[in-house]
Symmetry: C2
Subunit: 160 residues, 2 copies
DNA sequence: TATTGTTATACTCTATAACTATA
DNA sequence: TATAGTTATAGAGTATAACAATA
C-alpha cells in the first residue's frame, strides 16, 4: 500500500544513507589505524567498558551483531588480541561471561580521541547546537522504534 | 586538539550510527529478497537509471565504492546477471562505459516498492514533515562537506 | 607521466546449519 | 522443549598490488 516517497523524503533518505556510509568508512579507517580494531569491535568494547565490565554474550550482541556465530567470531578475535576474556557465568551455566581486560580498556582509551576527531570533523562541524539537539531527538526516537519493531531476528523467508 | 564530545553530541552520534545500521540491514534483506541485489548494486543501478543510462566506471564509482577493484567486481556481477553491459567509451579509449539494460531497469522497478516500504516503516513513520525537512537539510550539508573533504582516497598511512 | 580499468590474491565479515550443554 | 553458545563451512564484500592500455 506504499506509494512513492515524497521527493523530500527520498532526498533525506539518500543523504542520510550516504552521509553515514562515508562517516562509517572514515571511522573504520581511524579505528584500524589507531587501535587495530573494527567498528563492531569498538562497539563491543565500548559496551563492556560502560557497563560493569562483563556481560553475557547475548547481552553483548543486542543491536551490534545479527547472528550468534558472528558474535562468537568477534569475541574470539577480541580474546585472541587480549582485549577480553571469556569465562563461565555463575548465574546461568549455559551462558558465557565476557570481561574486558585492562588492555581492552586501554585500546578504547587510545582510540577515543581520534574517533571523536573524525566525528567532529565530518559531522559536527556542519551542525549547530540546535541541529544536534534535533538530530539526537529524531534518531533516538527512530532507533527505539527500530529496536522495538519485529522480533529482532525477523524470519528471512525460509522454505519449508 | 579535540576534547570529548558533549553528551548531546555523543548521544546523537551513536543514535545516528545505530539507526542507520539497523535501517541498512533491513534494506539489504529487502533488496536481496525482492531483487537478489545488494545495496551497493542497487545504488549503482539507481544511479544509471537516473542518468542517461550509461556512465563511465569512474563516474559510477563516486561515493558508492571506495576502490577501483571493488567496482570492477560489482560491475562484473551486474553484467553476469544481465543487469548492465560494458563497452568501450567513444570519448576516451581508456574508459569503460557501463549501460543499464531493460532487465536492470526492471529490477530497480521491482525492488522500489519494498524499499520504500522499509524506509517508511522504519524511518519516516517516526518523523514529522518538519523533521524530514530538517533532516534533509542537515544531511545534505553534511554529505556535501564529506564529499568535499580530503582527496576522497585519503592516504591510509603506509609504511615506507 | 598520469589516468582508466582489470586481474589475481588475500583477508574480513557474515550467515546457515549442525551440534553440545544447560534450563 | 527452549535457550546459550560454539563449530564448521561457505559466500559475499573489499582492498592491495601488479599490470595493460590510453591520454
Amino acid at each position: 500500500m506504499a506509494d512513492a516517497l515524497k521527493p523530500e523524503q527520498l532526498g533525506a533518505y539518500f543523504a542520510l544513507m550516504e552521509s553515514v556510509n562515508l562517516l562509517h568508512h572514515s571511522v573504520e579507517q581511524q579505528l584500524q589505524a589507531d587501535g587495530g580494531i573494527s567498528y563492531v569491535q569498538f562497539q563491543l568494547l565500548a559496551r563492556l567498558a560502560h557497563s560493569t565490565g562483563e556481560l553475557t554474550m547475548t547481552d553483548l550482541a543486542d543491536g551490534v551483531v545479527y547472528s550468534r556465530s558472528g558474535l562468537t567470531h568477534q569475541a574470539g578475535l577480541l580474546e585472541k588480541a587480549g582485549l577480553v576474556t571469556r569465562g563461565p557465568c555463575p548465574d546461568d551455566q549455559r551462558a558465557t561471561l565476557v570481561t574486558i581486560t585492562d588492555a581492552g580498556r586501554a585500546v578504547v582509551g587510545k582510540v577515543m580521541p581520534g574517533h571523536v576527531e573524525v566525528a567532529r570533523r565530518m559531522l559536527f562541524s556542519q551542525l549547530s547546537e540546535k541541529d544536534v539537539a534535533a538530530l539526537g531527538k529524531m534518531m533516538t526516537r527512530v532507533r527505539d522504534h527500530m529496536r522495538a519493531q519485529p522480533p529482532r531476528s525477523a524470519a528471512p523467508r525460509k522454505r519449508v
